[in-house]
């Protein structure tokens, strides 16, 4: 059964206020005020000097579980919110893998689930290892992207993207953080980056994400009452409060600490929030928890995973 062996994260120290980001994007003062006062957004993490490679290096530097185990890594999966993040055929992910002793691994990108691609990659990684019967092998899921263009800076009416990265080491079996179930709902009917699609996404967001979480939890043979904590994607507090109301789940048990401090870190949010929950002692041995993510723009996806710690 797929298990998380370790998680390394990196969020650069640089911060930009949402007023500045809103100015870059041509948002009105009122729009920015709504983001700050209503959605409770504040600062966005950015690394003004580094590229994608530097983000991923930061996450790998924090992945202690990888040290000495590099030779066991069979696959490296970069989970993408945006399918194309560097000029073709530049491949900074491969360069980073070479530098970290992972040149022997099969390195590729998976995605087209928007910001839920990180959960897809985690499921795919464990499944690849298990299907090969490779119980000694490991897979590495990398997440994190640069806010290189307007589309990669703003989730219209919802959030701002920030820069950060995570590296998650995965095994086909293990006891530390075992994956129990995964649910995914793809909404290809929401397929453009225009305002209408953004509104459509917002209309279905709370109900669909709540249904996806419920589906993952039920498939794991659990009820929401069993779930100790939810590790969300960092869109905004209001959106999660709506999801909690729909689920009948206490909002205090959703790790929203990073929403106002970093922005929405593409596919890395759930992993960054894992480390936050770990630091706060919110992950208890034997207790189930949930990772959940959704993304929209040109193609919407809602995903959730149930784990036991």
């Amino acid at each position: 059964m797929t298990a998380v062996v370790g998680v390394g994260v990196w969020v650069p120290e640089g911060r930009v206020g949402i007023e500045e980001v809103g100015g870059e994007l041509g948002l009105s003062g009122m729009q920015v005020k709504i983001f700050r006062r209503y959605h409770r957004l504040g600062e966005i993490a950015r690394d003004p000097h580094g590229g994608l490679a530097e983000l991923l290096r930061g996450a790998l530097d924090g992945l202690d579980a990888l040290r000495g185990q590099e030779h066991r890594v069979r696959y490296v999966l970069h989970a993408r919110t945006f399918p194309t993040v560097v000029p073709y055929p530049h491949d900074p992910v491969r360069e980073v893998c070479d530098a970290y002793g992972l040149g022997h691994a099969a390195v590729f990108a998976v995605g087209h689930h928007a910001c839920a691609s990180g959960l897809l990659a985690l499921d795919a990684a464990g499944r690849l290892l298990a299907a090969e019967g490779d119980h000694d092998g490991l897979a590495l899921v990398l997440t994190g992207e640069k806010t290189f263009t307007a589309e990669a800076r703003l989730v219209p009416g919802t959030s701002f993207f920030g820069e950060g990265a995570a590296a998650c080491l995965v095994a086909a079996t293990g006891e530390r953080d075992r994956l129990l179930a995964y649910a995914s709902d793809l909404r290809g009917d929401i397929d453009s980056g225009d305002e209408e699609a953004a509104l459509a996404f917002q209309r279905v967001y709370a109900d669909t994400l709540a249904a996806t979480i419920t589906a993952a939890v039920a498939r794991a043979g659990l009820a929401m009452d069993d779930v100790g904590v939810v590790l969300p994607h960092n869109v905004n507090r209001v959106a999660w409060h709506q999801v909690c109301r729909t689920l009948g789940y206490p909002r205090e048990r959703v790790v929203l600490d990073n929403v106002a401090a970093t922005g929405h870190l593409f596919c890395a949010d759930s992993f960054v929030n894992y480390r936050t929950a770990q630091a706060r002692g919110l992950l208890r041995q034997g207790e189930p928890y949930v990772m959940a993510a959704a993304g929209a723009g040109s193609g919407a996806a809602f995903s959730a995973m149930a784990f036991v710690h």
Binding site: M1, H71, R74, Y75, H78, F82, P83, T84, P87, Y88, P89, H90, D91, R94, G101, G103, H104, A106, V107, F108, A109, V110, G111, H112, A114, D123, A124, G126, R127, L128, L129, A130, A131, E132, D134, G137, F148, T149, A150, E151, A172, L180, A181, Y182, A183, S184, D185, L186, G188, D191, A215, A216, R219, A220, G295, G297, S298, G299, A300, A301
Partner: protein, 334 residues
């Protein structure tokens, strides 16, 4: 459509006889309909300009104006061609190397919406010609999950990249895509052979720059991919030869553009892919083999061995199919 999964269990296996059921292929010589949309083109201009800026690269406006292809449009055409009325799939995987003209679009999510069965769908990329083989490994891995055994693999490429990245690249001569319908009880079971790791590579954590021992094999199997480990002049000939020798009958080798028939010693016949199809080439030829078998069934059809090598990394990937197919179709998009 909500889909739920539990992790792969030890006893899980792909269903008996899982393999290729049908193949389809299409060329797309003209630009996508999306390319004629000025709103999209302006959005693409901004996206690419910002993508290129950190690298000190500039957009080629003339190339942008010529348009390009959309994997969503190509995928929709292939879905219609590969899946007859009443047939559906549980999983759709798109493999590609060259980005299309919608670099920010979750194309497979769109394809899931239009594909019969509303399949789980995702993309595999940034692995050059190896990506379709990795996609097949993933599809096979998911096939062991309940209600996930029927899948559609789409392999696509298109030539419009409106900038010079100052790195070696091989773009296709035309846009093309190949589809394979996969499922249980296939008359054409599929395997993805692996080979022993290259000598001296297991346990290495700091591969030497520029390659390793000459003549060692580099397959795309986990832990054995030789991206920067081995770049033999005749990568994997021993492994391919061993597979051919082990086949119970004659073997037709379908070789990627970078391979010569010498890479498949003992093959009854070798078919080399068009260099103008760097990603889809071997799959284009495989679809043709499938069509030929349909049109002229043989008493003892050959086994098929697909081999392709990533020109940049030297990694060799393999797929083996046993004969007899349900059907195949091919054509050209007007």
């Amino acid at each position: 459509m909500m889909r739920t999964f539990v992790p792969h269990a030890a006893a899980d296996e792909a269903p008996a006889g899982w393999g290729v059921r049908r193949a389809a292929r299409l060329d797309f010589p003209g630009p996508a309909a999306l390319a004629a949309d000025p709103v999209h083109t302006e959005r693409l201009r901004v996206y690419l300009t910002d993508l290129l800026h950190p690298y000190g690269l500039a957009l080629d406006e003339a190339a942008l104006a010529r348009g390009g292809q959309s994997y969503a449009e190509m995928g929709e055409a292939l879905i219609a061609l590969a899946l007859p009325p009443g047939e559906s799939v549980d999983l759709l995987v798109l493999a590609y190397a060259v980005p299309d003209i919608a670099p920010g679009r979750a194309t497979t999510t769109r394809l899931s919406h239009v594909c019969p069965g509303a399949p789980m769908a995702f993309a595999v990329t940034d692995q050059a010609a190896t990506a379709p083989f990795t996609a097949l490994r993933l599809i096979r891995a998911y096939a062991s999950a309940p209600a996930m055994s029927r899948a559609l693999l789409l392999i696509a490429e298109q030539p419009s990249v409106p900038y010079d990245a100052h790195l070696p690249r091989t773009l296709p001569h035309t846009a093309s895509a190949v589809a394979f319908v996969l499922g249980p009880d296939s008359p054409f079971p599929l395997t993805l052979p692996t080979a022993p790791p290259a000598p001296g590579r297991v346990g290495a954590v700091s591969p030497p720059a520029g390659g390793g021992a000459g003549g060692a094999m580099a397959l795309s199997a986990p832990g054995e991919a030789g991206a920067d480990t081995v770049r033999p002049a005749l990568g994997g000939a021993d492994a391919v030869g061993a597979l051919i020798a082990a086949a119970p009958g004659p073997v037709t080798a379908i070789l990627g553009p970078g391979l010569t028939p010498a890479a498949a010693p003992g093959a009854h016949r070798a078919r080399t892919a068009d260099p103008g199809r760097p990603t889809t080439g071997v799959w284009w030829e495989l679809a043709a083999e499938v069509a030929a078998m349909r049109d002229a069934p043989a008493a003892a059809p050959p086994h098929l061995l697909v081999a392709d090598r990533d020109a940049a990394s030297g990694a060799l990937s393999l797929a083996a199919l046993t004969p007899a197919l349900e059907a195949a179709v091919s054509g050209s998009q007007p």
